[in-house]
Amino acid sequence: MSAVSTEGAQIPEQLEDLESFRERARSWIGANLRPATADEMRWGRFGGSEEAELASVARDRELQRKLFDGGFAGICFPRAYGGQGLSPGHQKVLNQELVGYEYPARMQVPTLSPCATVLLEFGTEEQKLRHIPAILKGEELWMQFLSEPSGGSDVAGALTTAIRDGEQWVLNGSKVWTTGAWWSDWGLCLARTNWDVPKHRGLSVFMLPIHQSGVEVHRIEMINGSREFCQEFMTDVIVPDSDRVGEVDDGWTVGTRWMFHERMLYSSPYVSVPDGGRQAGTAATRVLGIAREHGRMDDPSVRDLVGEARMLEIVSDELMKRVTESIKSGRLSDQAAAIGRLFKGTTASRISTLALEVAGSAGAAWTDESAASETAVSFLMRQVGSIAGGTLEMARNVISERVLAMPRERTLDRDVPFRDVPRSRPTGS
């Protein structure tokens, strides 16, 4: 079905062997990137100032450009589009060598995957040549215009509408949960192009610049004070037909692969991220830090909790490798990416709870200097990992129905024109 598999580009010539690549990556990284600061190691924390965030974005663009110039951007992207034409094995080596160094964190998800991978699979030659090299150079940051306020999990029920007007389309509607849309450049947008057919058959995918009149970006404040998530309101946004990705009304074919890439997250061979593996140990190390600050590591019950966090982290890494490998070999369908998603979600929740438990009363009140600082705030946001990127309930449906082949849930929106599908509680009943 797809032009691109998780194996990356097939280059007829001999690929550089992994050890020589490792040497090359190591010496380049040592000479060109600086070691990450403790703060950078913790990217993903919220609440930094707007100026600091914009400075980080600018720095990430610079870093991406450095990687591009050094020949380390887009390891699995074909050379024709500015990539390196190498294998997932090379990407893995790079990820290992990046441990402890600054890297362009904001360029990875969703810009390189799923957005650029979707372009790679479904874009026209012109679209690919125009955008993929620009992405790999750090010139374009992309966002997914996918979820809508009317429903997160029911993605194919999108209400954003695109109406054809000659050689262009007019888009109206609203998208939500776009992380950092306020500092991003392009949106990959799923929109309804036909209301008279069942919902999966009336969708199309478009790309559009985010900063233009007609797109209003609103930043959403979360319960931890973060304002990274955004909602966009599109009013009569004009998109040329040449910026349509995939066939008209066939957007669900694109969307299916889009969501596959989305579920791969940081396991995708198209993103560069320092191997979160066993030496780096992030979440469990944080739990350990809290335990130590309170001198509690001598307590066997606390060692048990710290050990549990570490266990989950290690198993999560190994599971992701196994699932990726199984999809590649065809042992499991690509829908099995939901297995990794489910495990990561439940694990993040559990580790958040473990941290709160180990923090003791510092979970109620703390100082900024404390290792337990913000532990309770993270706990307030605990369920994010089980909601964002597709809820765990959806993942469980996918696993049982698409991997175990159990009967599908009954739906009332499958074989009827989308305009006849109930979308809210009936009035007066």
């Binding site: 266990m311 196994r322 449906n397």
Partner: protein, 377 residues
């Protein structure tokens, strides 16, 4: 298990699977419940011919591997043992054979173990929550040209069937290991009860057992690293077997969910149950992943082997128990009857979970390993 096997490994796994399907079907396992040894000598000898006892033994001692990674090959057998709740002293015999071979000790005993004509077991020290620290319950004292073994170890797998016992003891300063013939004067074995139908355990007491110094395996007082290696291999085998038992219970329950109808629908059509199956599949896959990763790390002697092994034992023990018990729940009443096969896997899983450290003990070890590494860093 089962990812990226070589064709030789896959051929071997299939051969073992076929052998177990024929020789150890559920009714045979049930029959063996009343058998003193829990397995037939001829069955074990034929299994040894397939290679079950050779993978941890060097070629000089008549052993050999399929893939070059002997522990990984052995884990394929262990996995099939779990999937069939198969009889036989797989863990104990292999660990002892490997330990003797590593120290080039008692080649005649190794030959018997590899041939399947002899059985041996390890009288292991107690687990401490500090990795690398062992607490033997046996004292091994040197007295002139002799060693004197005193103390009790419990539980010891296949103690009543073993011709030889590899005993780990303290000698005042360090850790020493000796190979004790089960027939030696002063050795007594009290049989223990267990949940598994074919596994056998005993409490072994050494009452001033005197042996010539040649009984010592490895360097006296310096056996700590040997013990660690034996322990990690034990974990790998138990983990692979537990995963096999989990997989069997899970597969059986998925089948059942399609076959069993309630209120005019198969169980597999209920979302409340489908979601639990999704969790179970995730935990089964995660158990495979961590079991395999740990086996490879132990085989390669990688620095994180102990951490991975404990992560595997802790995770599989904790989450596997939930999987197997939820399989029982999905079956309803039939799932807790002796007639149904499900309990064979529940039994095997439960024994494997409790041996060589529970999930809680291993979580504590992981915590200690992380703590120690962060101090060093």
């Amino acid at each position: 298990m089962l990812l990226a096997l070589t064709s030789d490994q896959e051929f071997f796994r299939e051969t073992t699977e076929r052998f177990l399907v024929e020789q150890a079907p559920p009714n045979e396992v049930r029959r063996l419940q009343k058998d003193t040894a829990g397995f037939d000598a001829d069955y074990w000898r034929r299994g040894a011919e397939l290679g079950w006892t050779s993978f941890l033994v060097g070629e000089a001692h008549g052993g050999g591997t399929i893939s070059g990674a002997g522990l990984v090959d052995l884990c394929l057998v262990a996995y099939e043992f779990g999937r069939h709740a198969a009889p036989g002293p797989l863990v104990s015999t292999n660990v002892v054979a490997g330990a003797l071979s590593a120290r080039d000790a008692h080649p005649d005993v190794i030959a018997d173990l590899v041939a399947g004509t002899g059985i041996a077991s390890w009288c292991a020290p107690e687990l401490s929550s500090v990795p690398g620290v062992w607490v033997p319950t046996v004292e091994i004292r040197r007295d002139g040209g002799e060693v004197v073994v005193t103390g009790t170890v419990s539980p010891v797998e296949s103690a009543g069937q073993a011709g030889h016992l590899l005993v780990t003891g303290h000698d005042g300063g360090g850790i020493t290991q000796v190979l004790v013939p089960a027939s030696a004067a002063g050795v007594s074995i009290e049989p223990l009860r267990t949940t598994d139908l074919t596994r056998r355990f005993g409490a072994v007491t050494f009452d001033d057992v005197r042996l010539p110094e040649e009984a010592i395996v490895g360097a006296p007082g310096e056996a700590s690293t040997d013990v660690e290696a034996q322990f990690l291999r034990t974990l790998a085998i138990l983990n692979a077997e537990a995963v096999g038992a989990m997989q069997a219970a899970f597969d059986m329950t998925v089948e059942w969910s399609f076959d069993r109808y309630a209120f005019g629908r198969p169980l597999a059509s209920y979302q409340a149950l489908k979601h639990r199956f999704a969790d179970m599949l995730t935990w089964v896959e995660a158990s495979h992943a961590i079991s395999d990763a740990a086996s490879y790390a132990i085989e390669e002697g990688s620095p994180d082997a102990a951490e991975l092994a404990s992560a595997a034992k802790a995770f599989i023990g904790q989450y596997g128990a939930e999987v197997v018990q939820d399989c029982v729940q999905m079956h309803g009443g039939i799932g807790v009857t002796f007639e149904h096969d499900l309990h064979l896997f529940l039994r095997r899983f439960t024994v494997d979970r409790s041996l060589a450290g529970t999930p809680g003990e291993h979580r504590q070890r992981i915590g200690a390993i992380l703590d120690r590494r962060e101090v060093a860093a």
